[in-house]
């Protein structure tokens, strides 16, 4: 079983598929996430690929403070993802609510709704910071190995 576990961890680290979900962001973080995937920064060299459905994704990349409208949908998308799953909060709003903290329609950061594995601050988080955050997340997977933790 050790061997199987090792292979699974290896596969998980070498090809993390991501799903990008805008939870109420201003688009700035979203375009920086896309910029990180395009030639200059090329996140794809780590095996990261953008997918269209939560059922194919290992990592949920969220940007923006969670609005009341999106809260239920975010939970639903999170539940549709297969285990083990990881959530990355990109941008200050996703980390803590940012400038929108305290607005009547904003719940706060992503962690007020679902568990988060990595926080990438910045307004907007630059592609370099996003790459750094993703690399750190992958590193942590290697260390933790496969403990089957939820987040």
């Amino acid at each position: 079983m050790e061997v199987v576990k090792k292979i699974m961890t290896w596969a998980r680290i070498k090809s993390p598929w991501i799903l990008h979900f805008n939870t109420g962001a201003c688009n700035a973080c979203d375009i920086e996430i896309i910029a990180a995937l395009t030639p200059r920064y090329d996140l794809e060299r780590f095996g990261v690929q953008l997918k269209g459905t939560p059922r194919h994704a290992d990592v949920l990349v969220c940007s923006g403070a969670v609005t009341r409208q999106i809260e239920d949908r975010l939970i639903r998308i999170y539940e549709q993802m297969p285990e083990p799953k990881f959530v990355v909060a990109v941008g200050t709003c996703a980390c803590s609510g940012g400038v929108f903290d305290g607005c009547y329609n904003v719940m706060g950061g992503i962690k007020s709704v679902i568990p988060v594995s990595a926080f990438i601050p910045g307004c907007p988080a630059s592609p370099k910071a996003i790459i750094d955050g993703v690399a750190k997340l992958l590193e942590s997977l290697e260390e933790k190995n496969d403990t089957g933790r939820k987040s």
């Binding site: 109420g24 700035a28 375009i31 920086e32 609005t67 998308i77 929108f100 305290g102």
Partner: protein, 412 residues
Amino acid sequence: MREEEKFKIPIGPQHPALKEPENFSLALKGEKIMGVEIRLGYNHRGIEKAAEARTYVQDVYLLERVCGICSHAHSTCFVQAVEEIAGAQVPKRALYIRTLIAELERIHSHLLWLGVAGHEIGFDTLLMYTWRDREIVMDILALLTGNRVNYGINTLGGVRRDINKEEIETINNGVDILEERTKYYIEVATQETTIIKRLSGVGILSREDALELDAVGPTARASGVKRDIRHDDPYAAYAEIDFNVITDDHSDVYGRTVVRVKELMEAYKIVRQCLKDMPDGPITVKVPRKIPVGEAISRYEAPRGEDVHFVKSNGTEYPERVKVRAPTLANLRAVKHMLKDRFLADMPIVVAAIDPCFSCTDRLISVENNGSRDKQFLTWEALRNYSIEWHRDKGIDFTELNKNFRKRLGSI
């Protein structure tokens, strides 16, 4: 047609074709779209209310975050309105720097759009090409303002950063490279058979419809409506700048692509002029923290179309009301029209063709009756009639004026 013959398909809030959380509910018959319902509000954060709780200076940065792509548009629009109320005379150099950043932002936004449009029609090579070239203008913006997006260069009464000679040289070099690349994109957009075949005749919006449905920006200009706030109601330094308003009469997604790539060339021209004609002098004047009582409307041609901000002040440090009308909201009615009786497969590109920005759009209007807590929602027609009556009570009759206005609209 009977209701049961239609098949309803929901698209969004999370969908690969949409980059932002919105819901389109399409009624289909076979492959054809019979009806469209757009549900907004997933991105509603309550910015207008939040603006009332913050000072004017804080609001400049808050309103910049209405939208991350046209952030300079929103902050400039707000700043212009406040400066008008305060009666501040913004120095010329500051106006030129605002214009410069505005055009650089337009370049980045249009290149971004070109890539997204390519992606929506399955032409990912174009996405990778344009986004690679877009990094050049992002570098320039980062050099000038210190941030790639959400520049934070505006302040009440001017701008926060000056530009120097070396920076001007870097901008000129960058613009030269981009111009070369854009010539290639114009070639691709106008000669590549795949693009022409895929985009021609998709999302048709005739000139009459564009006027009727109040389309703005490149969407209207691609239908032959010559409407550009930079030209019609110049703000910042646009009055002194010589540029062409690009129009096209294809009236479809192809026309919108052509308008945007040609606007890129105009943007390079404006950037060069700004750098050449930029006067010396201070970059900011002092604006009091407390803005005198008054109200103002400010208009701005964002990359997506006309952006309108309304600011009402009550003599304190905090605005009494801030209202934002973003260009995408004006274009959504046109989208509904463009989707009808068209194929489902065209839906992503038709929606993408107006360059939608839903984070700009999600505003809320509700009217509360005095005393009672039930909310009242007015239809557009009722609101219009209400405004006509209200003005008539004050002794102003707009009926005649409206007729003339309609006539003038027809002659544009």
